[in-house]
Amino acid sequence: MNAIQIFALVFVLWMTYFSFLHFRRGEFSFWEFSFWQIIWLGMAFVVFFPQSINVVFEKLHFARAFDLLTVVGILILFGATFRNYVIVRRTDKRLEDLVRKIALK
């Protein structure tokens, strides 16, 4: 096992612990917990068996696995940013409606 694999393993265990903690506290549903668990286990699998994704990046014409990782990472970041934006807007609107409702009571 090389250094990057040890680092990845620690990271995966750490995130698994946090996902489980949120699940036990009732902040994650079983499906949310399962979703994140699949992500962490998938990461662990790729770190230990890097050649397993060769077939993916060859089909997508990426020269290196790292390129694929970068593109996927950026897409996820944009997706997450959009989702956060929507949630903040919705929360803002709800907060405004609630504060107004209390004021007009």
Binding site: D92, L95, V99, R100, I102, A103, L104
Partner: protein
């Protein structure tokens, strides 16, 4: 026509009492929207039957406070509202001038237009010039002072005029909505009073308003 003054206020203690005293003789009622002030304004104002104080439990912004005031006024059957700042930047004696075009059925919304003189901070003058020009180019609406908050509104037109901006874009959005729905409007000259040049719209607000102007036009 039943008239009401809507006064959004945030941590405004110094001049509020005097403004309320001056305004109360010129309208039928006053609604002060305390927009999450540190200490509730209702504790500081002398109780008065012609004044209603609504309190936002947290600060939402001027636009949101104005909207709360409008909704309260409509639900209490007021017909014409005048928006006036609580910090004494607007001369209450000019309320009749703002109300007159609506009472004479010449307009549904009246915009107060300030004279831009040297006492007004340069940033405010420059920002207003840019926003006014942008408004004319983008919306073909000729309002000479897009950022003045001293306005009167016939409340039956409030549905078309109603804004979504919770903060300082509210003044601009009102003009945009008036233009979109072809609401008859009149501009009247008002006095420019600046007590504190660090209060009110900031450069960041100005940039935000500009972005909103473009978004409302093209998106």
């Amino acid at each position: 026509m039943k008239t009401i003054a809507i006064m959004p206020a945030f941590n405004e203690n110094e001049r509020l009492q005097q403004v309320v005293r001056e305004v109360s003789s010129l309208v039928d009622h006053i609604v002060i929207v305390d927009d999450g002030s540190k200490s509730a304004l209702s504790d500081q104002l002398v109780s008065n039957s012609s004044v209603t104080i609504l309190r936002h439990i947290i600060n939402l912004g001027k636009g949101a406070a104005m909207k709360t005031g409008v909704l309260w006024s409509i639900s209490h059957n007021y017909e014409v509202a005048v928006f006036i700042d609580a910090d004494g930047q607007h001369d209450p004696n000019e309320i009749p001038v703002l109300l007159q075009p609506i009472l004479e059925n010449r307009a549904d919304i009246v915009f107060g237009v300030r004279k831009f003189h040297g006492r007004m901070p340069f940033v405010a003058r420059f920002g207003n010039f840019i926003l006014t020009a942008a408004m004319q180019v983008l919306y073909r609406i000729q309002v000479e002072d897009t950022q003045s908050g001293y306005r009167a509104l016939r409340l039956s037109a409030s549905e078309q005029i109603m804004w979504t901006s919770p903060r300082y874009s509210v003044e601009t959005e009102m003009i945009v909505n008036a233009g979109k729905h072809k609401i008859p409007y009149v501009q009247v000259p008002i006095t420019t009073i600046y007590h504190d040049k660090y209060k009110g719209t900031t450069i960041i607000d100005g940039i935000r308003i500009m972005i909103n102007l473009l978004a409302w036009r093209f998106l």
